[in-house]
Every structure is written in structure tokens, then in C-alpha cells.
Symmetry: C2
Subunit: 203 residues, 2 copies
DNA sequence: GATAAACGTTACCGACCGGTCACACCCATG
DNA sequence: CATGGGTGTGACCGGTCGGTAACGTTTATC
């Protein structure tokens, strides 16, 4: 395999201060899983990046799979914060929230060219019995439902259809970023979203 | 890692008759890569499934990476055949071709819950320098352009936008199949496609 | 200062993996 | 029958990986 370069000096973030080891490990693991893939990075490298060692890693998490689930749960929490921010920014104005949601996702597409960590994990772990799969499925479901609630509040003529379409568009865009680069993908995503919202917005 | 079960009695297809070893290897590799992931299956298992051995595999393909590229190229050829079939079925009637295209993809979503092999490979191999990445990118580009040509011929008011939207919807659906199961995903994909086509079809 | 929990260090294990080597085999062509 | 190319066999190599054991060190608490 020619695969990726050395992990080397990667992901020394989240380490120096009095942050407990468990959180450092999760943060480093999230970073390295994102960069090299779940199967592409070893627990030794994760422990080293978290400025600790393999033993404490295995005392906090019983296995690499458990660590993976913990990192995915952390990612879901971070991603879920978007909805609170939308509500804070445009309280009551669901149509504005929907527009802002698109902007948010465009920003993420351009700034995080690695796609969705959750979806990537589901793709990498083909085995649908893997515990991480449940985390992913629950997250995707909740995201769609939250989006549907906004679509409903925004007075869409068909909020369910609008939410499903936007969800699929986002999922597709976050894959396209990895297959065709972020330049075109984010623009196409934005234009598709706007056209869809325009077509399905008036009640 | 708890990951997937034994490869065991997997993928004995494409072996018995006078099919040359090279083709058997590619077919078995495609099958096993699909089931267990690229990093999830070893060359020994691939050779065994192709009813041959590792040496002949390495005489035909210099490395696992080369074998991977060969299998991806085979997948692109198979997937590219869809367009010829569309043209054969509804020669000249681009609008009918577009409807049939949706049907095709819905069938694939329901029958192949593994998503797109090309996209999956791009996700699994984070390293964008990997030779397989070029194969994937070229394929995705050509698929979108072919779809855009059909949209154009179908008299869409905005064929580029329609093709981009449908492409993103498909990409998203093929990921959703892996994260949320095929039941809902194919239905949502169909409904989103039909709504999008309706909104962007009249010239 | 004793105690115990948390953390660090080193070495190790068994398994697997990509890739190579040397050699035997089969079978067609001359 | 000889030859040579394509194929099968098994052993082997160096490396990595997930996970564990044993032991030493820090740190806080009473």
C-alpha cells in the first residue's frame, strides 16, 4: 500500500493545560481518525498525540471501538450545537434560520474538506453490527428531524419533502467534497438548496 | 477491533469456467472490497476467493493498490453502461430517459445497499494522492456531464442546475443507504428527484 | 508520612498483512 | 521430446496492529 504519510507531528492540539487525559484522547482521536481514517491510525499514535500513552488510553476506553464511539458522540454534540445557534440568531424567524442553515453548511464544506465524520465512519465500517453504526444512525435521524421542524415552521408547502431533499443534498455535497474537491461542490450545493427552497417554500 | 466476521465462504462467484485468472481476481476483489472495505480484506483472501493464489495475483497486478484501481475501473465501465441502455430504451426521448434514470438509481439503492464503490473508496482512502482518487474523480465528473446532457436534451429550464441537484441527491442517497438503511432512503430519493425535475423541467 | 488511586514506561504477545523467493507443475508449441 | 511461459505451493520477511502484564512514578487526601 502506498497510502498516507507518517502521522508524525500531527494533532498536538488539545494537550498542554490541565485538560484531563480522557478529553485529550478523545480530541486527538477525532482529529486523527478524521485525517487518516479509523483503520488508518493506531492506538499508539493516538495516545502519543494526546501526550499520554496506550495504557491510560485502555484504562479509559476498553477498546479502540469504544474510543471510536466516544469520539463520534463528541462530534454529534458539537454538530448539534448548530441548532441552538440558529435559534439564538434568528429566534422565531424560521425562514431566516433555513437560509442561515445553508450558509453554515457551505462554510463547513469549504473549511472541512473531510466530509462528515459520522458518515465517513459508517462507510469505513461496513459491518452494520458495529456499535458505532447506532451512533451514526441516531445522529442522522435527529439532524433530519430538526431540519424538518425548521422547514415546517418556515411555512413550507411540503416540509417533509423539503427536509429530505436538503438532507440528501447535504449528504451528497459532503461526499462530493471528497471525490471532486471543495471548490465546485459548495457552490453546487448552495445553488441546489436555494432552488429547492424556492420551489418548496411558499405554502 | 470487533469488526466484521470471517470472509470465510464469501464470493466464490466468477471462478469455475475458463475465465482467465485476471478477470476472476478483479471480480472477486470488487466483491470483497465492497463487503469488507479496502483495508478490511487481505490479498490472500482475495486470491483464495478467485480460486487462485497470491503469487499469480502479484504477477498480474504489481500491488494491492494497482488491483484496487483495476477493480474501480471495471466498476466505472459497468456503471457507464447505464447510459447506453437509456439511449437504447428511449432513443431521442430525453425526458423519458431522465425518468428512467431515476428508476435505475432507485433500483440500485434497494438492491445494492453498499453505496457507490467509487465514493466509498474515496472516503476510505483519505490520502488524495492515492492513484485510485483520480479514477474516482474522473468517473464522478463524467457521470455528471452525461446526466447534464440528458437534462439539456430534456429541455430543462436550467439543465446544469438540474444535473447538479440530481447528482447531489444521488450521492447523498447512496450514503444514506449506509447510514440509515435502504428502506427510507430510496423513497426519499425518488420523491426529491421527482419534485426537482418538476420544478426545473419546463423550459 | 501513609495510603491509594491515577498515570507513565517498557516490554511483550499473537495475529495479520503486503510482498517476495525458490521451486515444482502443467501444458502448449516447436 | 524439449522448451518455455503461465500457474500453483509453501515458506518466509519485516512491519504494524490491538491488547495485556508488570512495575515504577506521581499526586492528593486523610
Amino acid at each position: 500500500m502506498s497510502s498516507s504519510e507518517f502521522p508524525d507531528k500531527a494533532a498536538d492540539l488539545s494537550s498542554p493545560a490541565a485538560i484531563p487525559p480522557r478529553e485529550r484522547i478523545v480530541s486527538s482521536a477525532a482529529d486523527l481518525f478524521r485525517k487518516f481514517g479509523i483503520r488508518g491510525i493506531g492506538v499508539d499514535a493516538i495516545a502519543e498525540a494526546a501526550q499520554t500513552n496506550k495504557m491510560t488510553l485502555y484504562r479509559k476506553f476498553g477498546s479502540k471501538d469504544e474510543l471510536l464511539c466516544a469520539t463520534l458522540r463528541q462530534v454529534t454534540q458539537r454538530a448539534g450545537a448548530i441548532w441552538d445557534e440558529l435559534e439564538r440568531e434568528f429566534s422565531g424567524d424560521a425562514a431566516a434560520q433555513l437560509k442561515r442553515w445553508v450558509d453554515f453548511q457551505v462554510e463547513r464544506l469549504e473549511q472541512e474538506p473531510g466530509g462528515c465524520d459520522l458518515a465517513n465512519a459508517a462507510v469505513e465500517l461496513r459491518d452494520s453490527d458495529h456499535p458505532a453504526h447506532a451512533v451514526v444512525q441516531e445522529f442522522k435521524n435527529s439532524q433530519r428531524n430538526r431540519l424538518a421542524a425548521v422547514c415546517e415552521a418556515a411555512g413550507s408547502s411540503n416540509p417533509e419533502l423539503l427536509a429530505d431533499t436538503l438532507s440528501l443534498l447535504l449528504e451528497g455535497a459532503r461526499v462530493s467534497v471528497q471525490t471532486s474537491g471543495p471548490e465546485g461542490s459548495s457552490r453546487r450545493f448552495r445553488e441546489s438548496c436555494e432552488a429547492t427552497i424556492a420551489a418548496l417554500s411558499s405554502k
